[in-house]
């Protein structure tokens, strides 16, 4: 039986990507885990794996097409089998705009699907062919009750709440709408504050500074997807999150000495960077401050039991992306260093995996390599805080005996969401973080 290939989740909040290339063709045999496509997500090129094995029966969309997360992008089945016609998309309300409708009208199935999914709602893309009742019997997803694939409890909740299931995106197996999808569903039409829509690029209203300047003295550059995304997220963060900031200065002499010692004899692929040590310290300190490893959702705050540290990485072509060091408090410093290096290499090559950039619970931004004394970072929503790491600098210090000597200090600033936490906790976090960096052997425990 033909199984749909679903567009996978591309990472926190990303809802769609642009198809760059199919890496497999119809008729190719694939097995679970094979990469079938490259997609330009908001932030980077992402490889799309299949989660089923078999022969590719169909692939939906040409390079350049927009693929929505959770939509059907093809079918896998047995060789010789036909792909279900009509390729009903779970998100019937938002068909991908770029490609002209390709369903062969003679099949009439697209129309049947639209008709059945209607349930009062206007069909998404009416094809011209007049419908005959018999067509409703045709094979395909439209055979599901009311034209949508949904679990019984999802149907019940939708009925009770008056939600039109054809507008809900299914995230269950094969695109099934499950309970969580209906419970989390928010009607798109509701006049939401800007932030609610921040997931979609360009959702933040453009500033009105008068007419767009033109002429020989200026160059007008289209805002890239990545820039729109950053603009949306950062505007959301600064408009909605009441940031407060705490700065401390840390003696890094011991940490640098330890690093030197650790790296002795290691080849480059294994070497531990200052950043790796900072990430480790950040994560270990978060263990003591679970409140800062939580995400604020208004009436509820979600406390994450695992600690995944987002690492802000500048992209060679401009822009910025967070790769995620998973369980950074638990994995050894050596493993952390290797994993981070590999992820950062994938950023530079534009070959990120969805997993590389999803799931961060707290973020570190390190500008130590740019010779900055200190800076403050903007929180990456919905996280509760971010650490900004400055350069290690030679500074005059007053020694315990009263004489003046040379020290090696680094300034660190934590930005914290005041809805989640208060100044004292931010300060205590930094105190613990500082202690860990200054007695760095604990990073090896």
């Amino acid at each position: 039986m033909a199984e749909p290939i679903m567009m996978p989740n591309l990472g926190a909040g990303m809802e769609e990507g642009t198809l760059i290339n199919w890496l497999k063709q119809v008729g190719d045999t694939v097995s679970d885990g094979d990469v079938i496509a490259e997609v330009d997500a908001d932030k980077a090129t992402v490889e799309v794996p299949v989660e089923i094995s078999g022969t590719i029966l169909s692939l939906e969309g040409e390079p350049g097409a927009t693929l929505k997360v959770g939509s059907v992008i093809g079918y896998v089945g047995q060789a010789g089998e036909n792909a279900p016609a009509g390729e009903a998309k779970p998100a019937a309300s938002s068909p991908p705009p770029p490609t002209p409708a390709e369903q062969p009208a003679a099949q009439g199935n697209g129309a049947a699907s639209a008709q059945k999914s209607g349930n009062g709602a206007p069909p998404a893309a009416q094809t011209a062919a007049p419908k005959e009742p018999a067509e409703a019997e045709a094979d395909g997803d439209s055979d599901y009750p009311a034209g949508v694939k949904a679990s019984p409890v999802a149907r019940k909740i939708a009925q009770d709440k008056g939600i039109d299931l054809s507008r809900v995106q299914g995230t269950g197996p094969g695109g099934r709408i499950v309970k969580a999808d209906v419970e989390n569903y928010k009607p798109a039409a509701a006049p939401a504050p800007a932030a609610a829509q921040a997931g979609a690029p360009g959702a933040i209203p453009a500033p009105s500074y008068g007419p767009l300047p033109s002429g020989p003295d200026v160059e007008v550059i289209e805002t890239s997807k990545l820039r729109s995304r950053i603009a949306a997220r950062m505007t959301e963060s600064k408009q909605q999150i009441p940031h407060f900031y705490v700065t401390t200065e840390i003696d890094v002499e011991a940490m640098l000495a330890l690093r030197k010692q650790l790296n002795e004899g290691l080849d480059d692929a294994q070497k531990i960077s200052v950043n790796d040590m900072v990430i480790k310290a950040t994560a270990l300190t978060l263990r003591q401050f679970p409140n800062l490893n939580s995400h604020y959702y208004g009436d509820q705050t979600v406390r994450h039991k695992r600690i995944h540290i987002g690492i802000a990485v500048a992209l060679p072509q401009g822009g910025l992306i967070n790769v995620v060091a998973k369980d950074a408090d638990k994995v050894s410093l050596g493993t952390l260093a290797v994993t981070n290096k590999e992820m950062i290499a994938r950023v530079i090559e534009g070959k990120l995996k969805p997993d590389d950039i999803s799931g961060s619970t707290f973020t570190v931004s390190n500008m130590g390599m740019y010779d900055v004394e200190h800076f403050i970072a903007v929180i990456n929503p919905p996280e509760a805080g971010i650490l900004a790491i400055g350069s290690a600098m030679k500074v005059p210090v007053v020694k315990p005996d009263g004489t003046v000597g040379v020290g090696n200090h680094m300034k660190v600033t934590i930005s914290v969401d005041h809805r989640v936490s208060d100044g004292a906790e931010g300060a205590k976090y930094l105190q613990a973080f500082k202690k860990l960096i200054e007695t760095p052997m604990q990073l090896l425990l």
Partner: protein, 325 residues
């Protein structure tokens, strides 16, 4: 309340002893139950304490044991007849199903058949295909006989005492692998009601419905899943008949997802029954198909490694739970 950790075989022995002391109509019969102390040592010491009249060694004939127990029960005694292992109960199906389970009905209530058939059950240890059955669902198929399937020492004692006191015939099977497993058993006397399931672990994400040794595997799986943040609720049915579905419905309405774990075979099984009743009673609460973890649908292989592959285990349960999330 003071408790002692007792292996299940000892808790069962206490139940038998207490009931024999309480009611002189209670007696034990079966192969090797007396002088030999029982194949699984459950009746150890009882022959010495109660004598050959109340702890009767029988010839090797399950038909005779099962049939004589029916007659004795009809005549006013309360036999606890041991079938050594449930595999031999196939020889005595007529006495068990056509007689024990039906007489109360066939004689319009003039007779009751207050007997207990005890039998060791379970797979494993290379007992080969003919000695590796868990056919309890076959017996639960027929109205007229209760079927008790305890998962630990505490439950086993309280359930067996209830079975001996009940006026209805009861098949009571004891998983061999659980005989040595200890659990806290109160010093004071207690009886657990017939037909009452028990929540062995609470959780909000997925309901596991199981019994007997499935409980042990499910608890192990629950620990593994908890590390991933998945909280399962484990319903130990304790009795296949009467089947206490209320706690299952209640749990399912909370979790919307269910995995049934059974050590027995998958066709026409415990899992089929639970799944069928759930979809009838709680269709609108279902968020994923109900999955079953069963023994494989094969005669149990002899080779040790392949034998294990054919049986359920904690990892198979973890995989099934992930499959409904």
């Amino acid at each position: 309340m003071a408790t002692k950790n007792l292996p299940m075989r000892e808790a069962l022995r206490q139940a038998l002893r207490e009931e024999m002391q309480r009611d002189e109509r209670v007696f034990i019969m079966g192969e090797e139950v007396g002088k030999w102390h029982g194949t699984h040592r459950v009746t150890q010491g009882l022959y010495e304490e109660f004598g050959a009249r109340r702890v009767r060694d029988t010839p090797i004939s399950e038909m005779a044991i099962a049939g004589a127990a029916v007659g004795a029960a009809m005549a006013g005694l309360r036999p606890v007849a041991e079938l050594m292992t449930i595999n031999f109960a196939f020889l005595s199906l007529d006495a068990m199903i056509n007689h024990a389970a039906k007489i109360h009905y066939m004689f319009n209530g003039q007779f009751t058949v207050p007997l207990v058939y005890r039998a060791a059950t379970g797979w494993g240890n290379q007992a080969t295909a003919t000695h590796s059955h868990m056919p309890e669902p076959i017996f639960a198929h027929f109205p007229g006989m209760y079927v008790g399937v305890p998962s630990n020492a505490y439950d086993a004692k309280g359930m067996l005492k209830a079975a001996i006191r009940d006026e209805n015939p009861v098949l009571f099977t004891e998983t061999i692998a659980l005989y040595p497993k200890p659990s806290p058993v109160p010093d004071e006397e207690y009886v657990l009601p017939i037909g009452k399931a028990d929540i062995k672990r609470q959780g909000g994400d997925v309901t596991i419905v199981t019994y007997a040794r499935g409980v042990e595997w499910s608890l192990q799986a629950a620990d593994m899943l908890a590390k991933e943040g998945v909280e399962v609720e484990i319903v130990d049915m304790r009795w296949l008949r009467p089947l206490d579905m209320e706690p299952v419905f209640e749990s399912f309405k909370k979790t919307n997802r269910c995995v049934v774990v059974e050590e027995s075979l998958p066709m026409f099984s415990f899992g089929s029954e639970i799944a069928a009743q759930l979809q009838e009673a709680a269709f609108d609460y279902m968020d994923a198909p109900i999955k079953r973890v069963s023994a494989m649908d094969v005669p149990l292989p002899y080779a040790a490694e392949i034998e294990l592959m054919a049986l359920p285990n904690a990892q198979k349960i973890v995989d099934a739970v992930r499959g409904v999330l």
